[in-house]
Structures are given as C-alpha cells and as structure tokens.
Symmetry: none
Subunit: 413 residues, 2 copies
C-alpha cells in the first residue's frame, strides 16, 4: 500500500508552527508496513486542497489529510475531498453525536457552525474523536482509501493509532516491515556514547543512530525484514552488544521515561517518595505525577522557593542556610531529609540551584545545582553545572534528579 | 513571487527526523515578502525529485530544494534538477574549491565521490557554503529561479539568509513585508471566538485566522504592506474592532503567556502567591516559576496528593474531606485558603480533581476539576470538566487556574 499525506494549514507555510504530525505519521505508517512516499503541505484554500487530493489519488492507494476539520470557515478538508471525488456532503448522525457529546460534557453552548463538522462526503463514515469536536472521516472510494484527521497533534496522534491504523489492517500487509527499538541512556554524554559504539554505526541492516536530547541520549536500532519478529531478531545481537558496553547507563527502551521507570520500581518495592524543590519550581513533582498511578508512591511535594519556606516546611536550620547559602550541598541534603521527614516517606529528594537568568555570581554561577537524596536515612548529594536557559536548566536538573533516584533504587535492591 | 519548496529525505518520510527547515524557510520567505504556498517532501529518489521539480515549475516562480547535495549515491538533487530542465551537468570550479577548502581546513582526505558535489546543471552557479562540503546551487532558467540548498539545518538556515535571500532582492524580496500580531484569548472556546468575529474573517489584507490550543484560542492578524510600520497600521483598526468585542478574554499578544502576564501583574502590585496542587501535581508551580523573576512573588507551592498531606500542610479539616470528598468545591476552597495561610501570601490557589486514567466514577468522572482562589480573604471556586488524557487534563487545569488568577487580578485593581 502506497500512501501520500496532505497537511493543511497556512500557519505551516508561514513557518508559525512546525509540522510534527508529519514525522509522527511517518513513524506509525512505517511500523505498520505502509510506504509513505510523499508529503504535501498546502494552505487553507479549498482549490489547493482539492487539487492536492486529486493529484495524490493518481499516485497513491491511501490518501491521508491532516487538518481542516474544525468548525471555522477556513476548515475546508471535508469540502475539498467531496469536490475532488465529485461527491455531495451529507450530515452524519455519528459525527453530530460526537459534537453534541463534547459540548454537553463541557456544559458549553453550541453554535450553528459547529454542525458543519457533521457534514461528510457521501459514503464516508465518521471516526469518533474523544479529544475534540472534529470527528475524523474515513472513505473507501473506487479502490482508494481516504482519511481526514484533525490537525492538532493531541487529536491527530491518537486518531492515527486508535482509529485509522486498525482500519488499514486488511491493506497494510506489505511483506517488509520496519522495526525500531530505541535504547534510552542517562548519565553519559552524546560523544561518549558515540565513541563506545563507533564501530557499530556503519551497518546497513540493522542500523544504529544516536540522538541527543537535554539530559538524555538515545540510540535508535532499526531493521527491515519480512515481519516484525524477523526484524526484532535482526536487532537482538546488536542490542546485546550495545548493552554489554553501555548497560549501566541504559534505563529504558522506546517511550520509557526516567519518571516511568523509577515509578515502576517504587511501586514494585512499595517505597514512597516526596520531593522538595527550589530552582526546579515543581517540575520534578509534575514529571513524577505524569505517570498514571503515581499517587500510590508519590505522597507529596514542596516547592520552597524562599528561605523561610525551607525553614518552615522542611526544617532546614537557619544556621545551615546562613553558613553555606541556599544553593549548597548542605542545604540540598537538609531539604531531602526534611521533606522525607515532613511527608513521612521512604525517600526524599531535595533540589536547590540557580536557574537564572538572574541570581548568579562568580562563585555560584547560573546553572549550578545541588541535588540531595535521602534513602531511608542514608543521604547522598550530587553537584551539577548545567548550561542553557532557565527552562532548560530546570529540565536538566529534574533529569539528573530522576537519574539519581534510578541509580539509588538500582543500587539498593 | 510565488514559491514552492521541495524537501528531500527518506528519513523525513519515515518520521525519523522532524522537518524544521520547512518552518524556518516559511518564516524567512514571509518576512521577505515572498509567498510560499506549497511544500512537498519526497524520498531520496531521482525520479520523484525530478517529478516534484517539474510539477513545481508549472505553478511557482521560485523553486527551492532542500537536501540531496551530499557526496553519497542517494544525494540526487543536482541530477534531478538537470533532468527536470533537460540540462547537462558540468563541473563548477567554485564548487570544487568549496570542497577542497573544507577538507583542507579539517585535514581530512577526499574521496573521488566528494567531487560529485562540484557537478552543477549547465548555467547554474555555486553558492559558497562555509558550513559543509555541499555548495548550494542557484539557477535562473526560462523566467524561473531554482535554488538547491544543503539539508542539515545548521547549513540550510545560513544558506537561506546569507546566500539565497540577497539574490532574490531583484525579484520579490518584494518591497512588501508580512507582519503578524497574535491575540491570545482565554476563557472562550474556538467556535464562540469565531462566531464573535465571523464578519472579519473574509478580509484579504489584513487577514484574521483563529487557532485553538488546549485551554487557549489565538487570533492571528496578518497584513502585507511596503514596510513593517505600514503593515502595523493596517492591523490597528482590525485589532481595535476585535478588542471591542472580545477584550475581556484577550490576555496578551504574540508570545505572551498567562503565567507571564499574571506574573507581571503580581510583581507590579507587590502581591504574593502560593499554590496547593493535587491533580496537577506541580505543573502550576512549574509554569509560574518558568517566568524569570518569579521568586519575587511566588513564595511556595505544595503538592498534596494524599488526604493526609492536605490536612497536615494545608489545614484542610478531615470532616470537610469526609463530607464532600477530596475532589469537591469545599476542598478546593479550603486548599486555597490553607496554602495562603501556611505560606503567608496575599493569594492562594487550590486545585483538586481527577486527572485519570483511574479514579473516576459516574458522579465524579475523570476530568472533573475544582479550582479555588483565596484573594486576601475572599474565596471563589470554579468547576471544570475536561476531556483528554492525563497530561492534557493537567495542562487544561493549570490553564484554567491561571485564567482564574488573571480575572481575579483584573477584577481587583
């Protein structure tokens, strides 16, 4: 099955937003064995979208259109598909239901233009969208498959995986599939990772591709084979060789995160966690609580920006603050122990540092961060010096904190 | 001048990399007054690149190709351009010089295929590339302009601004510039916003385009004129008309955020803030502390996931929790007042809700969130019912909390 994707939105042509749907769709189709061989971006213009659909159906078996399903007058994908295939638009009860349900749940009133979203090209069916008012549209017509999906990524992504791909099962059975496994690495920089696997980077099938993100490096292993299992087999010895060299830095695979991996370890071992944050301002608690079920092990977090709050809520001694300053190894340790005691948990983490842009000095520059962990009474401290801007320093600090937690949990099995 | 851009690279079709060149090029061309009205992504395939160039020259005056200029066998853009225009390839001394210089500077040895990069379609000139071996290619042919630029962003971006745009001055780096202003709206849905400004959506210059994000709607006002000041003048009456209708929902412009706008108001009025979070798990504190200087007004945050923590740190009465449940209007109010008292601030915000996926019931479904605000002793509560997944519900909840704060600050001048 050959696919072509059309992304609608003048804001992409003006460079006001980055088209992340394209990469997401590419990955998902590749994994499903469907060959996406062309992407097109056009503005919110009926004739251009129609023309793009008409051209695509000359080349492809599957035509996917992202965007243009909203209630506004520059949402034109339904109309363009109908025009390209010379079909009329008819109101679909399921799509109307999707809209009514959405508004009822929010207790908001509907306007007439919302029902525009229930008009589908004749013969098409609505794809239920739990994340917005715009139902997707699925149409099989003269041997080709057409799918219209909402443009916002938080709607587009689940609509691809949960709605479209299951419908393509009968088609997508190419013999070759592309299978990737991502190894996620923490505590080692990109060049050190590359150096360690240098001799493995030139393979053709499977391939290895390193990618660096703030506080994390990933290695993507990709193989092509007749089926997923065979591709997986191709990757296995390569993965084993990499784990042999870098095992102690690999915390997870694919979509796993440090907050997810540590959460699973905490839950399995019935350990509880509390965090005290200064420069990260709540980001660590936010990341920990992004994990469903985190309320089982995460009992509380304190964002103690001021010295007074550190004293009052964490019991950090004013003398320690006076002697060493709020950004110090001693205060990080006292925050970790203090939050552990105050909330009553097995583990406490304390973070104190200078996220910038202000507040730095020659002795304590922007990016200096101390992290403390109190694991059932045993306290360790780590010092970091991060580069970057405020949000990046906050992120890297929480990445280091979660790495610290992961290593502590691993070390104390 | 009408432009079309072609991005080559199978890795983009597979979703292994995100095409950031597209957004960059869009912004730069818009700023230079050139209308980019179509983007195409194709794989590293001679025939498909040739076909994309051939189709583009039917529609556009300027055809820009990104990628495919390297030394390897799947770098095919030079060949594709020559084939599309029926031109031969000839070695260009300047391009050869670019390659030799690059290797000499790095003390690396060249291979024969590196000189493939010096072959240009007859009549074309090389565009010096200081950042890599791949010279750009610039060709004027039968009234159209063709530019081939290297694909890596760190080469593509300076090649656009430093090499291509100066050459386009005589054409369209037209006297016209495109100027945009974004009005940011909170507390009103996309279709209600559109309903209010419906009659303004059909203008040609300036234009108005609505865009929805979770918990936020934006209206982008765009004008074309001879210079930025003239474009700004065109936008002014339109902006005034929109503010007349939607003023009470417009919290900012362009890159402004609710956390930034409320932060400025708090700082200016020397008011202090503390937050108590349950279902948002620290995200509100994180967003507030993303603003540089927030330590002046944000004194602390408490993430009280458990009932015990709500009682211990916030002084929520166990009877209130027992009578109404943790997710209730009463507890949201008690959390707001409790954190205000505990931290000692002018304003306290409390959030309690069910982020899911677990924990919902028919009476209290996933997405139900209560928000309380205690503003110098006066308490208000808001109820929300959000759709979406855990992280989206957390985000929407903080968006509502910041909207609540913004309205309270505006109402109490």
């Amino acid at each position: 099955m050959q696919a072509e994707a059309i992304f609608t939105g003048t804001e992409m042509l003006l460079g006001q937003i980055i088209n992340t749907n394209a990469a997401f769709l590419g990955r998902e189709l590749a994994a499903a064995g469907i060959n996406l061989y062309r992407q097109v971006v056009v503005g919110d213009n009926l004739e251009r979208i129609r023309e793009a659909i008409a051209a695509a159906r000359q080349r492809a078996d599957l035509i996917i259109v992202s965007g243009g399903l909203g209630p506004t007058e520059d949402d034109l994908s339904r109309e363009a598909l109908a025009a390209a295939l010379d079909l009329s638009l008819v109101e679909d009860p399921a799509a109307r239901e999707n809209i009514t349900r959405y508004f009822t749940a929010r207790r908001r009133s509907m306007t007439a233009n919302n029902f525009k979203q229930a008009l589908l090209p004749a013969g098409a069916r609505a794809l239920d969208n739990p994340y917005g008012t715009a139902a997707g549209v699925y149409l099989e017509h003269e041997g080709k498959v057409y799918a219209l999906l909402p443009g916002p990524p938080w709607e587009f992504e689940p609509m691809v995986t949960d709605r479209l791909l299951p419908l393509l099962k009968p088609y997508g059975a190419r013999r070759e599939v592309i299978f990737s496994r991502v190894l996620k690495i923490s505590g080692l920089g990109e060049s050190a990772v590359e150096e360690a696997v240098k001799d493995l980077l030139h393979g053709d099938n499977p391939t290895v591709a390193p990618l660096a993100k703030p506080g994390e490096v990933t290695l993507r292993l990709t193989a092509r084979a007749g089926n997923t299992e065979a591709a997986r087999q191709l990757i296995q010895p390569l993965e084993a060789a990499i784990r042999e060299r870098l095992g102690e830095y690999i915390f997870g695979i694919d979509d796993e995160t440090l907050e997810g991996v540590t959460g699973t370890m905490l839950a399995a071992r019935r350990l509880t966690l509390a965090v005290a944050e200064s420069c990260t301002g709540g980001l660590l608690a936010h990341r920990v609580t992004n994990i469903p079920g985190s309320s089982d092990y995460f009992l509380g977090g304190l964002v103690t920006y001021s010295n007074e709050a550190k004293v009052k809520f964490l019991g950090v001694e004013p003398e320690v603050l006076a002697a060493h300053g709020a950004v110090s190894s001693e205060v990080a340790a006292a925050m970790a122990s203090g939050v552990r005691r105050a909330v009553g948990t097995d583990i406490g983490i304390g973070i104190t540092g200078i996220a910038g842009p202000g507040g730095g000095s020659p002795e304590k520059p922007v990016g200096l961060v101390y992290l403390g962990i109190d694991f059932q009474g045993r306290v360790e401290v780590r010092r970091e010096l991060f580069l970057g801007q405020r949000e990046s320093i906050k992120w890297q600090s929480t990445q280091s904190a979660l790495d610290f937690l992961w290593r502590s949990l691993r070390g104390k099995k």
